[in-house]
Symmetry: D2
Subunit: 431 residues, 4 copies
């Protein structure tokens, strides 16, 4: 998706023409230097070429015209770069590469650079979530399944689960290996002749670009692109799960937490009393869009022969769009989590809304030794079906009397909550 | 910042901030005038507001900042518009509307405007395809199923099938009804009080915007948005089918037609002899991207209560993206079809590649009266399995001798081809 | 997706092998009769063929083996049908058709039959929703935007909006035109020779199948298939919007309505007190799955030449899956809406949760004549920002005193609610 | 009712009710044993329960009815299992687990079992592809970009690229970690009380199921499910790329290779001479369907609180569908690659179709030292633009004469082809 200030403000900074052009130029510069290191051209040519590889030197409108004719931006840039290079070095521009090498590596560079930013935003999200998990380790709230109260949990556990999603996303993104693409016009590097020279140049190119070496080019083997797309959509998905929880907890009837009130933030145009979940909304919108883009990349894997006629070209924008949405969602999530205002009293009040029925399982469990499974179930179901507090509805039998207070106290029915929080914190710290 | 020049050149003109902002302002102007016509505010207020509804008067960077805080662009624009309006008219800005009304109607306006452009491009595609269908009504070529020669067809029939896709797309796009959205803060138009005033204002708003009247607002009933997304993706799909055929027919071994050779068009960066299917590639890329965007709109239908918390906001960019891709694909298709260079001799040569086996069905059919179905099948299958021309392989039986030349002439085995072409042409003309 | 009793119970009745086989046989029978009517074969042959076109006569395992070899089920069925037909009529089996004609028409038949069932379920959904809209025309509840209380609405209006979705889905499904596919081996009907005979046979085939006539075959022009897929996904989407509202309103803290309590329905395996939104959950699951299937059909439009090598074959299951999901979702929705238990007192109680802030817009509107827009806004925002009921927080000024009780009564701030309900009811009845 | 025999023959063996039920029962048996090992119940209870955990003992129709009411199959199975268990052990059924634990673990078991089968099929694909890569290491063919001849490659290199896709898929699938799900009713394992007991039981459960331990349950943290879906779609995608190449190379005009001719395989119903790419078609259909299912899993990540109301339930079928499609595609690919018939002479003939223009880059490269880059380009472009063989069109200059034969021999313009093949083979062997 192309840059838009209006929507970039909500959804993340688009990869603009300049960012793409500079990445293409960085690849051309690295290609020239790698060629020089492999002895394919003089190193002063390489430096002369690299010296003009600055986006500001190029006329974007002219590049756009040439891109329309050529069908990809690399060909246009090569022509313009050749014209900009000193006359003596012109013959050394774009040696050994093909337009797909240039565009694929440029996109890898952009992924690499954007990944650093996404990771930094996720670090903020995680750090803020750690604080929530620790501070609210014992803050009781209702655990909800199918949107209904089920059992007590703590808000710390919910935050720990959010954290696990962030940990997972950072790990997946970091583990994604960005490899160099270097195959020449048909994936054989024939124009370089010698295999040894080609291998030297490829390793050097990878090193200049900071990409992993890939001895085999991958012009129509697009698993890594499709996989990255899914990984970015999954990162958005884990953030969107968090956002949905925030939205649900901000509902007027629930009111357990709120996005930070900032001047002008979340203001309704006509309803002066509302505070809208603005960041959460943007995160969910980003995820919804990311899935569509990721599905395009999965579909795009069916590529013809040694370079595809459409499927490859249809990867560029979705991939850049996914980077932007993941960055935007992560930034919004950091803002959201860092600013959350928690109402622990309301959490406790809500937990009591079922008149203690949220502890039905605890009471059944406590009654089982005396009444058996079916007997305990029957007693509690009968009591739960009456109006009024569950405890008061229980029959005045010796077995019920023997229960004492503990089964009626949600703080005593948290099971492994503490250890789950510990694990999530430790896993985050192990990143 | 302008939309991406580089990719817009290939994939179509993005809906930029200015286009969106102007559409929002057009809605605000229409809202003010409709309110005046309904007696809700003085008409000089409406005109004073309308007079400043020009995108160039607004500071996009400031709007972007406010959009980030508010969660949608309408709120930001309303604030800025209020500030720009003459002091006396400020209280009349945005009367009766809510931000969703503004954004939804603005998007409808953009759809309406873009649809005219898409339709015009499709008109060019269709007109050029009509010429092909007429000119090549009798130009023999191989009909191919599962990418293999099946039976003779004519290139005119293939063009007629392409045309049918264009006709269908234009018809679908034109039949899509764009309705006004007018519901106020929660879909009741409560701030307007009287139902009669509200209805008057809604009808007037629709008229000012050129949209169809919709007595019921649709803030979370998004079928029309999802349907439009699919319709645009389908339009891209029909063009992509055409593009795929062009790519397949441009293959080196097939070489039956070519995209126009223009200076610089379809040039490979390293292979001086190639002529690449640049337009076809862009069209297929556009379709691939369009499907992902359309799936986002289908998924987005699950919207909460009276306004969604994410699913609505995640519609804006995909919808605008689909408009751009459909326009771009249609423009590229017009360029592609208008410039097609057809090699009718090569078509004829290729048709003979199977040594007449492409007429096996014709011969079986001609032999059936004499040999029965199984007998005819067996004779032809046996002959087809030998190397060399099919006719020479047939046994020298009286039944075979009685066939004469006709079953071996592809021009006599075209069935309803002519009537199919006629129908496609007539259907196009009936639009 | 293949049949499964377990999941069909939740998600709808799959299209099974027998249903598909019978549809294929119905097409073969219709083809034979159409051929007879066109004079292509004797009518006693046609009747003899039609007489054995019963699924129970065929060995499914053997058909499966042959399908694997042939790549589609029609070829296998034709061979088996030929063997079953009386010897004299064998040569008349499958005259004029190709396997794509058979499969495409068989799928159209299945769509036609399933559409009747989907429409009937939607009729139940709509009828039950009409009752809700009428009965609760004045039942006050909170209108919620971005999941927060915004303004009062009535439950009747919410039901009317649900109804509008059902009306829309029925209309879209009914308006979808199912056309006959008749093109022969490469879309020319060459084996039939005469155009007149072919046209007669096609019209007769369409009539026998109850399909609309289509003078032009559409073997690789798949807009109608893709469009139907989207229409079915949209139908699921409108039901899923309703289901989501039900889930949100069933939340423990909201508790405004509930799915019917049936014996065993919605029971949690471990939590005796819960009542789960079982139907709503299934509807949302169906929609989520439907979107993926519909996106496959949109992708599938890129089909090669005169018959595709993969994209067509990959349409069959997604299309049948969509029919099943739409039918299942509609059946679940009928069950859900017919059984809804509404707590109108709780709706009223919840509406008061904001201490009257849900009427802030009403009060601002009422104060505007006296205080101006900004003045009214400021007074109400200040009062809303204090704890306690909004009305009590308002300053004791003459302007406030002059408001009287009306602006504080949600029943007086419903705007066009009644007319919106009327419209939705009238539109449903106009179907 | 069994899964669809007709389509399973083409697309892979569906996960049927029995397979799912047995997996659920395997989880219940493991749960009972794990509970016994943790001291939660007597081990004879566990064994008594495990003894009846056989799918054949259950009435599927009754389970289906109960599943409809309960909203998921686990609750139905638990009730039936309890009834089947010896009276004394009934209270020990399903201790500690919740229905999500059961279903999620059952699905993990199915993934685990299916993955073995997918891996075995991929092993066959890879092994057959290795043979092709080795045997055709030097078999010259045209390298094609944008579907046009670009440069010479060898068929061994194409096979090596296919192999790289298979290697990648096997590696991704093997690296996917399947973790145990154990969280109880709301993700706290509260019913088990002690954290130590719960941890012992979880580890034991994981061990019994052969799953990786996961200290933190993941009821609404679905990254691993979404990621697996994408991985399976990617596996289909790499196979579909191979299938598309096969289809393109089987085209009548290209005819460089063919799927194995088997009796009845690839036969057209009306065209006796055709040999259709049946396996390739099925693989592409599978990929097309897989992408839609994977996109549903990516959308499904937005899950509410501690258990989702629709998004989780909508994961089951898509996940099982993906397993089936990946298995089916891999099986078809093994059949396809093992049976490929290669026409190396036709490959050579096709390579010469451009009259040597496919070596234009080689000649430019060879001329550069003498003529400079622009000069060499100009000479070759001019020659390429004339009809007739490129070599004959070159000007009779000393520089051209000095070229000798080598630049005109495609076997000398293969660059790093050999080393690329070596790498792909080595990488496969390193699995």
């Amino acid at each position: 998706m192309p840059p838009s200030e209006l929507f970039d403000a909500l959804l993340g900074p688009s990869v603009g023409d300049t960012e793409l052009l500079q990445a293409i130029l960085d690849v051309e510069a690295a290609l020239a230097r790698a060629a020089a290191e492999a002895g394919v051209l003089p190193s002063d040519h390489a430096e002369a070429i690299a010296a003009v590889c600055e986006a500001r030197r190029f006329d974007m409108a002219e590049l756009a015209r040439a891109t329309r004719l050529a069908g990809n931006p690399a060909i246009a840039v090569v022509a313009a770069l050749t014209a900009l290079a000193p006359a003596g070095a012109r013959g050394s521009v774009h040696i050994g590469g093909t337009s797909q090498d240039i565009v694929d590596n440029a996109l890898q560079l952009i992924v690499q650079r954007r990944r650093v930013r996404i990771d930094a935003h996720l670090d903020h999200v995680g750090t803020a979530t750690v604080t929530l998990a620790e501070r609210h380790r014992s803050t009781l709230m209702a655990g909800r399944t199918l949107m209904q109260h089920a059992l007590p949990i703590t808000f710390g556990l919910k935050a720990a689960q959010w954290l696990a999603g962030v940990t997972d996303s950072r790990r997946r993104l970091r583990q994604h290996v960005l490899t160099v693409q270097f195959g020449g016009a048909a994936g054989t590097l024939a124009s370089l002749g010698s295999t040894a020279v080609a291998a030297t140049m490829r390793r050097s190119l990878a090193a200049h670009l900071g990409l992993a070496d890939a001895p085999l080019p991958w012009p129509t083997a697009r698993a890594q692109v499709a996989s990255l797309g899914s990984t970015l959509a999954i990162a958005c998905g884990s953030l969107a799960k968090m956002a949905l929880d925030v939205e649900l907890l901000m509902q007027t009837e629930v009111a357990e937490l709120f996005e930070r009130a900032a001047i002008g933030k979340g203001v309704s145009s006509t309803l002066p009393h509302k505070r809208n979940p603005v960041s959460a909304v943007s995160i969910r919108a980003a995820h919804q869009q990311a899935v569509g883009l990721a599905s395009t990349l999965l579909f795009a894997m069916v590529q013809e022969h040694e370079r595809a006629a459409g499927a490859w070209q249809g990867e560029w924008e979705p991939l850049m769009g996914l980077l932007r949405l993941a960055e935007g969602a992560a930034a919004q999530a950091a803002d959201m989590v860092e600013g959350l205002e928690i109402d622990i009293e309301r959490m406790r009040t809500n937990l009591d809304l079922t008149g203690g029925r949220v502890l039905a399982e605890a009471i059944v469990t406590a009654l089982r030794p005396a009444l058996g499974r079916d007997g305990a179930d029957a007693v509690v179901r009968a009591a739960a079906a009456q109006p009024g507090p569950l405890r008061a509805n229980l029959p005045a039998t010796p077995e019920v009397a023997a229960l004492g207070d503990t089964p009626f106290d949600p703080a005593h029915y948290l099971g492994s909550t503490d250890s789950f929080i510990d694990y999530a914190l430790a896993d985050w710290r192990s990143l």
